[in-house]
């Protein structure tokens, strides 16, 4: 326990912020450049994880446990989102026979 306390004083909180910003940007790039729907969903999970890490870091640095509860709720929502998203994806695959996200342009005017 004392070692962990020393670590919090050793790593400044903005390094955690930079780490989660980099992970979030990688997730954004993945959503922009990939066409496989499953990989796009995975990049969204990556972005959620970046936000989770940021929230846990601030929770520890501010000595407030509410941030960790928020991370817990984000995990709940992410699990529900993954389940529904994959069900939608399987339905799309059944109808279009592909996971290419560019096929879904039927709403284009």
């Amino acid at each position: 326990m004392n070692q962990v306390t020393a670590l919090i004083n050793g790593v400044p909180v903005d390094h955690y912020v930079y780490l989660s910003l980099i992970l979030f940007s990688i997730g954004i790039v993945g959503v922009l450049i990939r066409r496989n729907m499953i990989v796009v969903l995975m990049c969204i999970e990556l972005m959620l994880n970046a936000v989770n890490l940021l929230m846990a870091a601030f929770s520890t640095y501010l000595n407030d446990a509410a941030g960790q509860i928020f991370v817990f709720f984000i995990m709940v929502v992410a699990a529900a989102e993954a389940a529904v998203g994959l069900a939608v994806l399987i339905m799309i695959y059944r109808n279009t026979k592909s996971v290419d996200i560019s096929n879904l342009d039927k709403l284009k005017g």
């Binding site: 004083n9 955690y16 910003l21 997730g27 989770n52 929770s59 509860i69 994959l86 339905m91």
Partner: protein, 171 residues
């Protein structure tokens, strides 16, 4: 020692996140994302959030990523069926993401960094403490989350169900 571990885990998570985005084989993407999850769980342990670390491994590596892997195997996707964007679009996407990162970092420059509290409470991440808070201050959101789960479960079954009419199509 702990500081070095933080930077090692951070670099490993960034590298495996790049593999997630860059790999042509979706299976490799899933495996790299699982590795990223484990690195992030290590970061949680370093942050003194032991409960979150365990829940993160159970929920993400144990449930969500297995679901992704299962769907990937069910649809029989591999390198040959992988749709590719043109090089121009990839270049534009990487530039756009890089600009976003530059904007974030620029916004961070003017921020006064909070100092760590003098005596951090080492027990806030433990299950006992978090459970107490979850069932006193956050009991209403907790119950709403259970309703959300029920709705997601019913929704996933309803969306994923096969229509009776076109049962000649498999998957």
């Amino acid at each position: 020692m702990g500081e070095i571990l933080f930077y090692v885990l951070g670099v490993m998570s960034i590298l495996s996140a790049i593999v997630v985005v860059g790999s042509n084989n979706p299976i490799h993407s899933v495996l790299a994302l699982i590795f990223t999850m484990f690195c992030l769980a290590g970061e949680y342990i370093l942050l003194n959030a032991q409960f979150l670390a365990v829940v993160h491994i159970i929920v993400y590596a144990g449930a969500i990523m297995v679901l992704f892997l299962f769907v990937l195997m069910l649809l029989n996707l591999n390198k040959d069926t992988e749709p590719q964007k043109s090089t121009r679009f990839k270049f534009i996407g990487i530039i756009a993401g890089g600009l976003l990162l530059v904007t974030f970092v620029g916004a961070m420059k003017g921020v006064a960094v909070i100092a760590a509290p003098g005596t951090p409470d080492a027990s806030i991440g433990l299950t006992k403490n978090l459970g107490k808070i979850l069932f006193t201050d956050f009991v209403v959101p907790f119950e709403i989350a259970s309703i959300l789960f029920l709705a997601a479960m019913v929704g996933a079954v309803m969306v994923g169900k096969k229509d009776q009419k076109d049962n000649n199509i498999h998957i």
